[in-house]
Amino acid sequence: MVKFPENTKIGLEVHLQVNAGKLFCGCEGEGMDRERSFQRTLHSSSGETGSSDISTMYEESRNRTFKYIVSTNSCLVEADEEPPHKINEMALNASLMMARAFNSEILDRVVVMRKVVIDGSNTGGFQRTSLIAMGGEIKGDTYSSKISAICLEEDACRKIEERGNEVVYSLDRLGVPLIEISTEPDIKNPEGAVEIAREIGNRLLSAGLLKKGADSIRQDVNFSMGYGRVEIKGVSKLTTIPDILEREMERQKSLAEAVGIWKERGGTENVIFEANNAILNGTGSRLILKSVENGKDILLSILKNGRGLLKNGNFRIGREIADALKQIGITGILHYDELPAYGITQEEKDRIANYLNLGEGDSFLILLEESAEKERAERVINDRISKIMSLNFSETRAAMDDFSTRYMRPLSGSSRMYPETDISVIEINESRLREIEGRVPLRLEEMVEKISREYSISKQDASTLIWNGMTEIFMRLSEKYDSRAICRELVQKLPDAERKKNVKIPAEYVEDTLNYCIEKNYGRYSMERAIDLLSEGKLPEEIKSEENLKPLDENEIIEALKNIKDTKNISLVAKQITEMKGRPVDTSIIARLVKVEKR
């Protein structure tokens, strides 16, 4: 296990999708894309971004259009064509239940805010979010962490593709309720972070309120080791946290080391590019040739004292610069350390060094870009370098598949938030709090234990019920019928039938038909028959109306047995009779009758 510095601070922001309708409209949480789409542009308002936030300015200047694919579970609200409706009660309650679970202090009044996001992932240009509770603590088996805030938010659009200036999003995920739980940066190591994050997810799961699906838990990780806070976005798999943090820790360590050397050498000077398209005349580099062909210039600058720091051993300041430039759409950057390469020869490298009058420890940068972009690039590069030199690495970074992270944007400030005036302040009154009081989620282990104990089923079965989100249905049906029988239907028969027909039967259909069997006193065989019929695509109404579930009585079975010759295998006989009559049959009766017959 890698050793992290003493002053390591890790905090989490865990996002949990709530298994409920959308947060501010009447649409369902799940849906499919449709043929229809519309397209938009977004504008940043002057009041809202600081002048230094050039990535946001760039975002707008790019003139991007966003295309939104309409889904079956979207309406005018997702299209930003109608004010939001009242908040989804179930989602709000879920967030309150989570707050209670961790002893977080619930606010008397909830104010819905808009958080500006203009990457198109929200049709309105903002995400709706509200602070639900503050404080509390998450206790895992080994680690614990204090909670700073619990928020209830809308999930964003699902990005489908990016082509040229157009980004395509689906509206299916937009507006799905998300509970965001942020911890204090009091976690000391990645293992702790994993445990805490898992604990958070398990609570909502244990309450039966976690949406199913790959997306349902996503976390951002805050990390600091003395060089400012880095927020790592988009860690989708819990188990990758240690690897990602390790890579990030190494990045910061190397960066600090490089800065030490650089400063020792006397620091650097501002990068200033000058165009010299003739300098590489006669080059064989296809990169250069193609770039010139596309009308770009060859811009050169000294990077004072930078030699060997841009790409050399662990030093990767070159990549820091490239990542920052990429955010404003500039990609053509080369530097001393990586040459000769890309078809540029040592002779050409020397020619440039010579031309720039490079000193001993100096490096140079080559920017392949139109001269008009020179100033923007210089500003980004110089800002980036001076930030690194100040040993303040705080920023927002994105987690990559290879566990590395990439620069995304500066940490977002509070100026990006303002109230959602279309929704009035929500009072969390006593009656609501009383309502959730009995439903505070237990820890997953406790929940498994409790269900197993109270309903006399195995822990294995209890756990399966929870993971499949069937706990509530199970408990309701168990009030009226033998819980073990119900458990068998839900844990064995149901998944079995679904697997056979490769279908997903809606939970409410299952509850409806089983309930019917219970009320009619039809017994186990009818329940199984009900699930079989559902798996064949029949609707509960049909199944119920056609008396398909009424078990055959003894006389009917005797009648049916007359047509069956081989009665050795009782369950085969039952199957034959059911197929013949379209109705369930009790095998024990068959067994009895067959015996009688044989006698």
């Binding site: 938009r40 308002s45 809202e48 805010m113 928020c151 509070s414």
Partner: protein
């Protein structure tokens, strides 16, 4: 320790809430609750346990940023602001909407506008459009006359709620007009990144530089940020309460279309004239009455009492319960005006078709084809104030501004 009633909006505050120490800026105090913007950006409304520290700061003020003035070079376009969503901004701390009209914010989005036009911004009114009164229509007409002397086109920013009423009223108040008059609004306020105001305004400025000699409306043609319609004011109607493409032409096609910097005039329209002349009087004693089953005779009678003219929104081709016939006869016999329109919105009123209609004709009720109720009441207010009473009915039924369509095509519904 500061008392809660000493805390003012804008104070920087540190306080204890349920044992936690919190910091922020005070947005307001009401009852025992303090509204605070936390450093995280979230607003909370809490009853503090104890206030530890508070300092007046003045960081929060309701910004009143009206920046009249001129910008750009080229053909002069006046932008007269009356208020409404299109010029409103949000205060990012309180969420309160405040009026702001900095034309450079718009032109900075579309820099070619600065090269083609000299945009002259004039704050005129600053009201929500539902508070607009007929007297203000006349004032606006006067302002238009004044601006038309120096400008080649006039854009009027206006709340969308009563935009078609104002557009209709201006259409009738302007006896002649030498410049295009384009009304523009927005359905999503300018503070939202997704606002429709920029594109609507871009369209409006472009439409204002054509030879269109009518009062038009410049709004989104679909929910996409793609094209902008130019609609004839007297034939347009806000047909949806919230969508960007709420404004629709009724019974006709749009007059023009703007997309990607280009105006395409697709419909027929009056060309701008030599001078701008206006009527300066308006008769406020006119109103709209919406018929419904169960309406009592007294409902109509008491409404009529205060009115020189009424616009009835009848059912179908223009019908109301026949129990009102005598009352209407009495009303028109006394020299006052009753005009029938239809609550169907689309299609004509025609009192010749059914017996109720023919009884209404005998009772002196006038109708004017597919004249819209909004245009009807605006026209009535102008006609009654500026013509002798024996001409009222004839003026109402004759088409002067394209408000009555001679023919309705199949696609127009």
């Amino acid at each position: 320790m500061p008392e809660i009633d000493k805390i003012h909006e804008g104070s920087v505050i540190t306080f204890k809430w349920r044992g936690r120490e919190l910091k922020g800026i005070v947005l307001g105090v009401k009852d025992k609750y303090v509204s605070v913007k936390l450093e995280s950006g979230y607003n909370i409304m809490v009853v503090p346990d104890k206030i530890i520290y508070a300092r007046e700061n003045g960081q929060i003020e309701t910004k009143q940023r009206e920046t009249p003035g001129e910008s750009g070079k080229g053909r002069e376009i006046s932008i007269i602001s009356t208020g409404g969503t299109i010029v409103s901004k949000v205060d990012y701390k309180t969420g309160a909407v405040f009026p702001s009209l900095d034309i450079r914010e718009i032109t900075s989005k579309f820099q070619y506008l600065e090269r083609q036009f000299r945009l002259n911004t004039i704050p005129f009114l600053n009201i929500l459009s539902e508070n607009m009164e007929p007297e203000q229509w006349v004032e606006l007409a006067r302002k238009i006359r004044e601006e038309s002397k120096k400008s080649e086109g006039i854009v009027i920013s206006h709340g969308t709620d009563t935009m078609t009423y104002t557009a209709s009223a201006l259409s009738f108040l302007l006896k002649e007009q030498s410049v295009p008059i384009i009304m523009v609004g927005s359905q999503r306020s300018s503070d939202r990144p997704s606002t429709d105001s920029y594109l609507n305004m871009e369209g409006a400025i472009n439409f204002a530089s054509t030879d269109f000699g009518e009062v038009g409306i410049s709004m989104h043609s679909s929910i996409s940020d793609a094209g902008i319609y130019l609609l004839r004011g007297v034939r347009a109607r806000k047909m949806h309460s919230s969508r960007r493409d709420a404004f629709r032409p009724i019974g006709e096609k749009p007059v023009g279309y703007f997309q990607d910097g280009l105006v395409n005039m697709t419909g027929k329209y009056r060309k701008k004239g030599e001078r701008t002349e206006i009527f300066e009087k308006i008769e406020k004693r006119a109103g709209i009455l919406y018929f419904y089953p169960g309406m009592e005779i007294d409902d109509m009678a008491s409404f009529m009492e205060r009115k020189m003219g009424i616009v009835i929104m009848g059912t179908g081709l223009g019908h109301i319960s026949t129990k009102f016939i005598d009352l209407l006869k009495e009303y028109t016999d006394s020299g006052r005006l009753a005009v029938m329109t239809t609550q169907c919105i689309n299609g004509p009123s025609d009192l010749n078709v059914y017996s109720t209609g023919r009884q209404l004709i005998k009772a002196g009720v006038t109708w004017a084809g597919n004249l819209l109720p909004e245009a009807a009441v605006a026209k009535m207010m102008v006609v009654m104030a500026n013509y002798p009473d024996f001409e009222w009915s004839r003026r109402m039924v004759s088409n002067v501004r394209g408000e009555i369509l001679e023919r309705e095509e199949l696609e127009a519904f």
